[in-house]
């Protein structure tokens, strides 16, 4: 063995209950393991990750003088650290350990027990041969920058920002829109308690603005991020608002004074249901309380010949600046919380529901605005044709649970549909029909809310609304939106004429979620939601250390869950910051200086510019701090003079031989 004296390997096969032992004959593998050269101890145990399991390793090292440890259990992603810890506790260098994944890669994916057992043996043989070549290594300790970047100023981002700021950490909150608040700011009431969304959200929004530890950048995008956990360098592009933030006092007189006396343009915040001027504030409680000028509609931008009454009224404050330019900021942070949220399903994708064609078909988010007292109709439900609805149909699962659009359940639609049913009924006294596949109310107080609605006389028809049409088969249907549905409980086809249709549209990842994912170097699920490191045990972590998730960017969830997750992400971030240092995997590449011929093949290959050519020595040199350990240069070095810790050539060659040696 590789200069480490006598090889003495301890081999442990975990049953993981029946997760592994149910498919792999662990007893046979353990017995076979004893026959492997170098293996001194070969055991199987029910749960290796348990304390007694780890203690087995510690005891064996002490009693049997083991110098290498191999554990065959689950994915290294889960317990590599655990067993390295046990190895270290036993007095060995933690990197004298190697893990074999016989659960995710074997017992869980194969049914043929014999084949699975053979596979486990091959993988274990490879590990035993590999571990012989392991070298003692040390993790590199790097200080952590205490500042945190939060991307997205919806309720999740706001909550995470306040939590961290209250803990004394400096937070950069970057929001793309002119105001923070996100989707929640558009909601009227929140289910199931029916407390006013604005009443609970706006104090938090104001707190963000006032907090000395929070730097809030609206109308801003993150354009670049470099570095690694604890030490990220982030570039933020700030788009012009054409209002100088420091000079504006938020009196909003400029809006009043705009040459447009009437609001003329569709108002984004109200989803086009209301109108705004070219200079506007998204909604009265917007944070920051600053107007914004829309280049597309402002006369000054279009013709350069506006009277600029807004500038006149602003007077000496001189807060309006038509020449404001895009700017960039570069910041250093130690961790990042992504809270970029979701977008609602575009109901136009399903033409048979008539959205965009029949004016009185609304999406649920539009309905929120319609019933909101601060909305375009001051809370009165007035349809696009000016009427008030007497009957309303609410169609669940539009753009959810559907192979043709999005396959997932959007999780919040049942409850918000019930809420909308209640509120519309309250506002209009209309007769309300809900069309559903399943009613899902698995939350605190949710089922009680459903009961309440049932007792309010809201109709619940089990059947997905199949189409909205306007061709009457009876005079009573004339001028109505007709919902055709199979009432699956009663077993009848029904046509239900209504005045207003609300499509309960699902939640989906932002159209540009893929770009954000690439930017931050994290993964997405196949649906496009950001992927958590582990669905149960690391729900706010990503596979990239130091980047955390909060809110709907990870998957549909309601406000309490978003807030809880934001808190969790903030706590993970705090834990990271307060550990002061981060330990980096020692899988960096290094150059055998004596052997390097200075051919420079490696230099253009490193994406982090970690390799440089030292003229004095005429050799290449790797800056360990910059090396991320991908190993690309190692594979390329034509004279074999670059090596990689943890992934040495010999280690991999031994693995190859090991997995094939049974033949």
């Amino acid at each position: 063995m590789n200069g480490n004296g006598n090889l003495r390997v301890g081999l442990y096969i975990c049953h993981c209950g029946t997760n592994i032992a149910g498919t792999i004959d662990v007893k046979a593998v353990a017995a076979w393991g004893e026959t492997l050269p170098g293996v001194v101890v070969s055991r199987e145990y029910k749960y290796m990750c348990s304390d007694p399991g780890q203690q087995l390793i510690v005891d064996d090292v002490r009693e049997q003088h083991l110098n290498r440890i191999v554990v065959a259990s689950c994915s290294p992603l889960l317990h590599e650290q655990t067993f390295r810890g046990a190895t270290a506790k036993a007095g060995l260098n933690p990197f004298f350990f190697h893990m074999v994944n016989v659960r995710e890669h074997d017992s869980w994916v194969h049914e043929d027990k014999q084949a699975a057992t053979e596979k486990a043996k091959d993988l274990i043989r490879a590990a035993v041969r590999r571990v012989a070549f392991h070298k003692p290594l040390e993790k590199k300790r790097v200080p952590i920058h205490p500042d945190v970047l939060i991307v997205g100023g919806g309720i999740a981002g706001i909550h995470a920002a306040l939590t961290l700021a209250n803990a004394g950490k400096h937070v950069y909150l970057v929001e793309r829109e002119p105001t923070i608040g996100g989707h929640m700011a558009k909601f009227d009431k929140t289910f199931p308690t029916l407390d006013c969304a604005a009443c609970i959200l706006t104090p938090k929004m104001t707190a963000v603005k006032k907090h000395p530890n929070i730097t809030l950048w609206t109308l801003s995008d993150v354009t670049q991020i470099e570095g690694y956990v604890g030490n990220f360098t982030v570039t933020v592009k700030r788009h012009p608002r054409y209002i100088i933030e420091d000079l504006c006092v938020g009196c909003l007189e400029c809006i009043e004074a705009c040459v447009y006396k009437q609001a003329k343009y569709p108002d984004e915040f109200n989803l086009g249901l209301g109108k705004r001027k070219p200079i506007y504030i998204p909604f009265p409680q917007a944070v920051p309380q600053l107007p914004v000028i829309d280049r597309e509609t402002c006369i000054e931008f279009k013709s350069g010949r506006c009277k600029k009454t807004c500038v006149e009224v602003c007077g000496d404050r001189k807060a309006i600046d038509f020449k404001q330019q895009e700017s960039t900021e570069t910041i250093n942070v130690g961790s990042v919380i992504l809270a970029t949220g979701f977008q609602v399903f575009d109901a136009r994708r399903l033409p048979y529901y008539g959205y965009g064609k029949f004016p009185n078909v609304y999406t649920s988010l539009e309905a929120e605005r319609l019933i909101n007292a601060a909305g375009p109709t001051q809370g009165e439900v007035i349809l696009r044709d000016g009427r008030k609805p007497k009957t309303v149909g609410i169609l669940h699962c539009i753009g959810s649970r559907d192979e043709n659009t999005n396959r997932w359940c959007s999780r919040v639609c049942c409850m918000y549909s019930l809420k909308l049913a209640h509120l519309i009924k309250e506002h209009t006294g209309a007769e309300i029909f809900n069309f559903y596949i399943d009613i899902r109310t698995p939350g605190k107080g949710f089922e009680e809310f459903y009961q309440r609605l049932l007792n309010e006389g809201v109709h619940f028809i089990r059947g997905k609304g199949a189409e909205i049409n306007t061709w009457p088969l009876d005079p009573s249907e004339e001028g109505k939106l007709i919902i055709r549905v199979e009432d699956t409980l009663i077993g009848k086809i029904r046509r239900i004429p209504v005045d207003m249709v609300v499509l309960s549209v699902g939640l989906e990842p932002h159209a540009d979620a893929g770009d954000v994912r690439r930017l931050f170097n994290i993964s997405c699920s196949s649906e496009g939601w950001f992927l958590e490191r582990h669905p149960k045990l690391a729900p706010v972590n990503t596979f990239t250390d130091g980047i955390f998730l909060a809110g709907c960017c990870q998957g549909p969830k309601d406000i309490p869950d978003s807030v809880a997750q934001a808190g969790a992400a903030a706590a993970e971030s705090l834990a990271l910051i307060d550990s002061k240092f981060v330990e980096l995997e020692p899988n960096t590449a290094y150059i055998l200086e004596e052997a390097c011929s200075g051919c420079k093949t490696c230099i253009p290959l490193c994406p982090y510019s970690a390799i440089s050519f030292v003229e004095a020595k005429k050799k290449a040199e790797i800056n360990e701090a910059l090396c991320k350990g991908c190993g690309t240069c190692v594979a390329a070095c034509p004279s074999g003079s670059i090596r990689q810790n943890l992934f040495e050539d010999e280690e991999i060659f031994e693995e190859i031989k090991g997995v094939l040696a049974h033949a």
Partner: protein, 335 residues
Amino acid sequence: MTDKPKVAFYWCASCGGCEEAVVDLAEGVLNVVAAVDIAFWPVALDFKRRDVEAMADGALLASFVNGAIRTTEQEEMAHLLRHKSQVLVAFGSCAQLGGIPGLANLSSRDEIFQTVYKEAPSTVNPEGALPKSLHRDNGDCVSLPGFYETVRALNQVVDVDYYIPGCPPTPKIIQQAVEALLSGKAPEKGSVLAPDRALCDECPRKDTRPEKLTLTAFKRPQEILIDAEKCLLAQGVVCLGPATRGGCEALCTRGNMPCTGCFGPTSRVRDFGAKALSATASIIDSNDEKQIDQILDTLPDPVGLFYRYSLPASLLRRKKLPEQPATKGCAPKAG
């Protein structure tokens, strides 16, 4: 009989260039002759195989064997010399790595016979006779060495103590090696008696390679007018210097030709061609599959390029033989 240590020179499948290299030592050869007694050197001296067979085991201090192993006779001689020598040295690329004759591993024996004895334009062989190891004619019996399917490097046949690389080894390398062996300061067994650093280290063009070199096309030497000063790779010519062990004093690149890899890999590399390939492919300046393929079209015959001297010593050793009834009979090793 003198007391001088006895040495032998022998050639297997080779071109004779290695023998020439010994002669090329010029006056240097006198030092060798003065220091040792050449007991066997078929190319120059009239000793017979039976003379060697008559020696006691280990009677030779060293045998220098050049050439690859292609025939039964070569294998027999390799074994014989191994027994009679204290030190067996693989001399030159062919013995070390299989060499140019090793490229025959891209063909099967049948294909070779077919081409050489039947199809070559200069061949007249109306009966289609092929070499046989035993031929009887009128009661006379002639035997010829058998011709193996696969060419091997010397160490794939017998245990080898040292390697002197090169096609052929340069006088300096030979002299240093012989001196090291005679001085008794023998290096670690299995060593290649040349520096363990790639050629770039000693190449006069080294400094002209840009730090970040990537290529959009590869050139063959005959395709361009080669700048005599500039790094060949920087001119688009595939030079294997970065992958090849140094020690030749950059003879080829000084001579305005790219390194073709005759000194073989460094001790840290198991497969010369694979590493050379990896380095070459890595600096292709494209991330687009189609474009990569277009660029690679300028690299015809990758095996000939990257394994010019080392196919038998490579991990794959030879081109996969077509499934034949003969090999079918040979079952794969049992599981």
